[in-house]
Amino acid sequence: MAGERGPVVASGVAEQNLVQLRRVSLHALFIAFLSVALLGFGGGIVWARRITVDQRRWLSESDFADIVSLCQFMPGPNVVGIAVCTGAKLRGGVGALAALGGFIIIPWSVGLALGALLLEYAHLPILRNILGGVSAVAAGLLIATGLRLFVPHRRRPVAVIFAVLAFTLMAFTKLPLLAVLFGLVPLSIAASGLEKARLG
């Protein structure tokens, strides 16, 4: 069954993992990802973490980081992937559909109507100014979310090196994402293997 989990391998989060063995209702999944979509200006990942980890406690910090990494390695809009994977983890196939439905149906309909209206006023300076302020904040929230998810790994020199490398290559060079991802990930996994071999 989809709700089943193997042994908890991540360290320091065992107590949090106990919480999510409780059965989550499909309705709750739908509502949670509806909120993620409606709140998620600029970056849904900020809200997905806040709601699934901080508020509902369905996932531990490392479960969430795990899902985010997996989604980054698969094609598509990442937040949609977070919805699908969280739903699948908690309730299997129907859970994935409930989370996806919550994320898409209502927000898409409202967004399409609202957007068609907004397009008429796209040239107004006040709208552009507000947008500027919101996107500056949204950028800050995204940075903070990435940093917070990194906290469990901060004492691993290997992890710090590869995080900084990925950040630098993506933020300061014109290298395409695919090159960064497929260039760094095999090295990072190899380093993680060596690290494990050395520490036992």
């Binding site: 409606l38 600029g42 094609p75 967004g111 399409l112 100014n129 302020g133 919101v134 800050g140 929230l141």
Partner: protein, 177 residues
């Protein structure tokens, strides 16, 4: 080209690029622009930029919405629906299958190694996309300060991020950026 064949050709193209949009849909935006604006002339560059700016201001699945606005422009409401499905359908199936596979091998020793290698790289990329967004907005030192303050508030306090976003919008709205 008739609406009908334009709709099919747009959907097919979106389904294809969404299946290879590693790291998120924004990575394939240049390709979509090329297809819609340069090759088919279904929309202008200005339309494209407006769609992009607009989906940042409205909550919701922004890239799915953006593709829907292109679909709307090309073939009306059916175009919007078809574009939405083409954008999220193929990746969702991949996500689901990928997750089930990943979950099945959860207890395998190699998975812990892969995870510990994967996570730092992807989190570096998340922080980088925040930085890239901040730079794309290009709002001078005030906007950069706002970005830093937002990040610190988010890390150090439990304040609801919605308030930080609202404050940022108000800041911009009063012309302080």
């Amino acid at each position: 080209m008739s609406d009908h064949s334009a709709l099919i050709s747009l959907s097919a193209h979106l389904a294809l690029v969404s299946s290879i949009s590693f790291g998120g849909f924004p990575t394939v935006l240049p390709d979509v622009r090329n297809f819609v604006v340069a090759i088919h002339g279904w929309a202008t560059d200005e339309d494209f930029a407006n769609f992009f700016a607009m989906v940042q201001t409205i909550p919701g699945p922004s890239m799915i919405l953006m593709m829907s606005f292109i679909g709307l422009k090309v073939a009306g409401f059916p175009g919007a629906v078809a574009s939405a499905f083409a954008t999220f359908g193929p990746p969702c199936s991949i996500y689901y299958v990928g997750y089930r596979l990943w979950d099945r091998f959860r207890a395998a020793p190699w998975q812990e190694i892969v995870r510990r290698g994967l996570v730092p790289v992807t989190l570096g990329l998340v922080v980088a996309s925040g930085t890239v967004m901040a730079r794309a907005a290009d709002g001078g030192w005030q906007a950069a300060a706002l970005t830093v303050i937002a990040a610190v508030l988010m890390l150090r306090t439990r304040v609801n991020p919605l308030w930080i976003l609202l404050a940022g919008g108000a800041f911009g709205g009063f012309g302080l950026l």
